[in-house]
């Protein structure tokens, strides 16, 4: 089972070196601005910026496109639904197609820009960044460090869980279970003997994991960090410029 999450590509480009907080904030501004955009010029401009970042980060085109695969079907569906009309007989409508394309490109830019973060930022740096950005919430008694740790462990265990599912499927298949025969209901039922041992195993593992974390002094409080993140001038400049552009776009100054 292949899952395209946690697909960090190590590197030493300017994009890799940028502070994770700056990357997260810039992406947030970009995605938020995208939803207020109405002109093609700006969409094309943002696409160009995204491609440029890809080139600077030396991300393989194929790797990047693979990250867009999950939204391929949604994109195709959006385009088809917008392009054809049943009113007065089934026919193609160009303005609908153009509107559909606008949505699709927007969707791909959102997916692409968030994919760029996971491709160029290690999960540890990313969770450190999220934890620091969430720090003000600690005043409201939100367990910020715990949340960051949960995200980090969650990312780490995705491949392990996928392996576990494969193993259980194999064990059930060896005992005569079939997963792709019969009606939809029958197929859905066939997954019950996979899901039950999976969840039992996951709860047992979570318990063992908690004990091993306890044994190594984990309390979620007073934990230090290996490398404290420090914002560089370039990171600050990046955040300010993207923030300004965001205000100008949302304010309608740039159309």
């Amino acid at each position: 089972m292949q899952i395209p999450i946690g697909s960090y590509v190590p590197g030493d480009s300017a994009v890799h070196r940028a502070d994770p907080r700056a990357k997260l904030l810039v992406t947030f501004f970009l995605v938020a601005a995208l939803f207020t955009l109405k002109s093609w010029y700006l969409i094309v401009a943002l696409c160009t910026v995204m491609m440029l970042v890809c080139v600077i980060a030396r991300i393989n085109v194929r790797t990047f496109l693979r990250m867009l695969k999950p939204v391929l079907w949604i994109g195709a569906f959006t385009l088809i639904v917008n392009s054809f009309s049943f009113v007065g007989g089934f026919h193609f409508i160009l303005p609908g197609f153009m509107r559909g394309m606008f949505f699709v490109v927007r969707l791909f830019v959102v997916m692409g820009s968030t994919a760029l973060i996971t491709l160029t930022t290690s999960p540890v740096a990313l969770t450190d960044g999220i934890a620091i950005m969430m720090r003000p919430l600690a005043r409201l008694r939100v367990p910020v460090e715990d949340v960051a740790m949960m995200i980090s462990i969650g990312i780490r265990f995705i491949p392990t869980i996928a392996e576990e599912i494969d193993r259980i499927i194999l064990a059930q298949t060896a005992r005569g279970a079939t997963f792709n025969e019969g009606s939809l209901l029958k197929r859905a039922r066939a997954w019950i003997p996979v899901l039950i041992p999976l969840f039992v195993g996951l709860f047992r593992r979570a318990d063992a994991l908690a004990r091993s974390m306890d044994a190594r002094c984990y309390t979620g409080i007073g934990r230090t960090h290996l490398r404290e993140l420090k914002l560089k001038l370039s990171d600050v400049a990046l955040m300010v410029v993207s923030g300004l552009l965001f205000v100008l776009i949302v304010g309608g100054v740039i159309r």
């Binding site: 290690s122 540890v124 392990t160 994991l209 004990r211 091993s212 044994a215 002094c217 984990y218 290996l226």
Partner: protein, 247 residues
């Protein structure tokens, strides 16, 4: 080096599971600094439950445990866990960060040490288990033998005074087993090893504790106990091959 007489003092420890089963009953023993103790017993004897008491993962229901001069209790957990390091049987449950180095740094970071000190300890621990080259790899990409060594490094980096190991050689092939026992041999630290690997216990330990059905059957000279075939068989154990060779 240590001014405290005993590294571990367990005094009349009782523990009952929620379903009422008695897991430990009247367990008492003393372990001095520098001792290497084998904890022997059949499956279900209470070895893992006893181990989990030693750094407060399970708190004593009755009786008490002292780690040096500190009584294990809800208010002393941080101190106790810094002094007693536990290496669990399944290394997959100890390697949960995105790289081995992060896993090894996990304990020292929880202890509130600064970045430079954590880096130093991480390097030392990875070096001790010969895994420096794999430091940036995630735990799941290692062989089982390497995972076991990495799990040991995650505790060594905390520089505990007592190292407790639960089945350090289980599921290892003969070479990995040899590597692990050589590694443990060179550690200058108080050891308590719960194991079914009688050969490891024979070669490594000077003292043995036999635990069965939650009670201590005997404690004393490791070789003397392990040579006693009747005692070994009675408690689901066996005389190690090396002991037979000497007889």
């Amino acid at each position: 080096m240590h001014c405290h007489a005993h590294a571990i003092e367990v005094d009349h420890l009782n523990y009952r599971y929620q379903d009422g089963t008695l897991a430990l009953y009247g367990v008492s023993f003393l372990i001095s600094h520098g001792m290497r103790v084998a904890l022997l017993g059949p499956n279900g004897a209470g070895k893992s439950t006893l181990i989990e008491h030693l750094n407060g993962i399970i708190l004593p229901q009755e009786g008490r445990i002292l780690i040096e001069d500190v009584v294990v209790g809800p208010n002393t957990l941080a101190t106790v866990r810094e002094r007693v390091g536990i290496v669990f049987q399944d290394p997959d449950n100890m390697l949960f960060m995105t790289s081995i180095a992060q896993d090894v740094a996990f304990g020292p970071l929880n202890m509130g040490l600064d970045g430079a000190e954590v880096e130093k300890r991480t390097n030392y621990a990875l070096d001790a288990v010969s895994l420096s080259e794999k430091r940036d790899k995630p735990g799941m990409h290692l062989s089982f033998g390497q995972k076991k060594r990495a799990a040991l490094a995650t505790v060594l980096s905390m520089q505990p005074r007592v190292l407790v190991l639960d089945e350090p050689t289980s599921n290892l092939d003969p070479r990995a087993k040899r590597n692990m026992s050589e590694l443990l041999e060179h550690l200058d630290i108080t050891l308590l090893i719960a194991t079914h690997d009688m050969e490891l216990a024979w070669n490594m330990c000077d003292t043995a504790i036999v635990l069965d059905e939650g009670r201590i059957v005997c404690m004393g000279d490791a070789h003397g106990i392990m040579r006693n075939e009747k005692l070994m068989l009675e408690h689901g154990l066996e005389v190690p091959p090396s002991a037979r060779c000497q007889q």
